[in-house]
Amino acid sequence: MSFSQMSIRQLQQALRDGKTSSVALTQACLERIAATDEQINAFVTVCGDKALASAAEADRQIVAGQGGPLTGIPIAVKDIFNTAGVRTSCGSRILENYVAPYDATAFARLREQGAILLGKLNMDEFAMGSSNENSANGPVRNPWDLERVPGGSSGGSAAALASGQALATLGTDTGGSIRQPASFCGVVGVKPTYGRVSRYGVIAYASSLDQVGPLTRCVEDAALMLGTVAGYDPADSTSVDCPVPDYLATLEGGVKGMKIGLPREYFIAGLDPAVKQAVEAAIKVYRELGAEIVEVSLPHTDYAVACYYLIATAEASSNLARYDGVRFGVRQAGDGGLVQMYEQSRAAGFGDEVKRRIMLGTYALSSGYYDAYYLKAQKVRTLIREDFLKAFEQVDLLLTPVAPTAAFKLGEKTADPLQMYLSDIFTIPVNLAGTCALSLPCGQDGKLPIGLQLIGKPFDEASILQAARAYEAETDWHQRRPPLD
C-alpha cells in the first residue's frame, strides 16, 4: 500500500515502525504542492522550511517513543485560522499583510499533538462564497476538472486534500463551507455541532453559525482529527463544556438497527439525476447493512436560504466592522479625515461579495427594518431548528445529498448571487439548527465526485461518523483520486 492510500493511524504506525519518516512525508507533500499547485491554487502560503524543521523534530520524538497521535503528520489549515508568525489573510486584500500574534485553539490543538503545518489554504474572502471564486488570491480549481470550482468557502482545504498535497486539513462551515467543497472534491468533511470546537482565533464571519471542522481522506481520519480539535475552550465562551467521546472507539459499530431518516423536502425536482441516483444507491447500501430507512419531513426547509442570508449577513456586517484600517489590515490614507479613511480602506480592501453581504446585513439591521428582516429571520430559525429536533425524535440520523449538483463550472454562477446562494440549499439548514453533519463521497457524475450528507443529533457526531464508516467500508469512492499530473 502506498503512503497516499494509508490512513493517519496507519501512517503513524509506519512512522513508529521506522518504515518512513515525517521528513519524507513532509517532503513528499511539498513536492506534490510544487508539482500541482500552479494548476490548483489551493495554497496561499507554503511554510516549507518551517515544516521540514518541525518534521525533523517530530522524527526525533518518534525515535524516542514520544509524541501524540498526529506527530509527524503534515496538514494544512484554511487561511481563516490565526497561526502565530504565519500570515493569515482570510482570502482578502484587507488582511494581505496580517500576521497573527497567536494561534487559533483548533490549530494549536493539532500542533500540540504533533501535526506539521505545511501552509495556509485558499478560500473565499472571509469565508463568503460557495465556489472559492471570491478570493483575493484567485480561484481554486477542482482537481477532478480544472474548468470547475472546488466548492467554497473551504475550497483550498478540499482541493489540497484531493490533490494529495496534504494528509488532512481544517476548514470552517457557516452554511456548508466544509461539506460542499468536500462533496465537490471527493473527500470527507465534518461540520461539528455548534459549540463543539472552539472558534477562538478563527476570523469571524457569522458568529452564531460558524463552526470549525476537519476535511480528510477517510472517515477514520475525520474521527481522529475531530477528537483532537473538539472540546471546551475557556477562550471561546460559546464552546460547550460537554465531554468529547472517543470517536475512534465507536467507529466500527455498524448501522444495524439504526434508524435513518430521509427528509422528503431534500429529494426535490431540482436535484440532478446523477446525484439522486448516487444517493439512492447509498440508501440501498444502508438498507442492506441493516439500517431502518424511514421518510421524515423538515417542513421549513424551503425557507432556510432566505433565513440564512439575513442572519449571516447581519452578523457579518457587525463582525467586519473591525476592519477599519486602524489596528490591522491595509489602510487607504486620504486627507479627508477619519471617516473617509474608514470608507476608503474598506472599499479598497473588500471584494464584491463581501461588500454585498455587509450591505445586505447592514440594511437588515438598520432602523425600521430590524423587525421585518432580522427578527423575522431569527423566528424562522426557531422553526427550522424545531423541524430537526422533531425529526430526531423519530430517527437517529438523517441522510440527504450535500448539494443539488456536482461541481459547477468556473464563472457559471458568479453573475447571479441568488443562484450561487441556492447551491447551499441542503447544507444551510444544519447551520441554522446548530447540529452536526458530514459529507462523504458516494458516487460520481462522469468524473466529478458526488457527496452524501449525514446529519446527526446535536453533539452526536459519533453516530454520523459510525454510519459514514459503515458505508465507506462497503465502497471505494473515498479511495479514488483525480488523475493529476
Binding site: V99, P101, T193, Y194, G195, S208, P234, S237, T238, V240, H300, Y303, V305, A306, C307, Y309, L310, D324, G325, V326, R327, F328, G329, R331, A333, G334, G337, L338, V339, Q340, M341, Y342, E343, Q344, R346, A347, K355, R356, I358, M359, L360, T362, Y363, S366, Y373, L375, K376, A377, Q378, K379, V380, R381, T382, L383, R385, P417, L418, A433, G434, P458
Partner: protein
C-alpha cells in the same frame, strides 16, 4: 422596487463603504432581487415564536476576574498600519 438607489447610498454610508457609481448601480439591482427573495419568510406566521439567536442555549459565561498575561504592546501593535509611541495613529478627529 424593494430598495431605491438613495437607500443603497444611505446603507453604504452606514457600512462605511466608499462605493463608486457602478457599484451602487449593481448593488441596487442585486439587493432588490435578494430582498425580493427573502420576502418569502412573510409566508410564515411567526406570531408567538421565540427568536433564536444561538442554536445552543447559552447562559452568560462568567469567569473569575484573574489577572493574566496579555499579548503586550509590541505584539498588539505589530499589524497596525501606523503606530507611534505605543499608540495606534489615526487621522486627526478634532480640529
Amino acid at each position: 422596487m424593494k430598495i431605491t438607489r438613495e437607500e443603497v447610498e444611505h446603507v453604504a454610508r452606514l457600512s462605511r463603504l466608499a462605493l463608486d457609481e457602478t457599484e451602487i448601480d449593481a448593488l441596487t439591482g442585486q439587493m432588490d432581487t435578494l430582498l425580493g427573495y427573502v420576502e418569502k419568510l412573510d409566508q410564515l406566521d411567526t406570531a408567538g415564536i421565540v427568536p433564536t439567536a444561538h442554536a445552543v442555549p447559552l447562559e452568560n459565561a462568567f469567569r473569575a476576574d484573574d489577572v493574566k498575561p496579555s499579548i503586550g504592546l509590541e505584539r498588539a501593535l505589530q499589524n497596525a498600519p501606523q503606530s507611534e509611541d505605543g499608540c495606534f495613529v489615526v487621522p486627526k478627529v478634532i480640529e
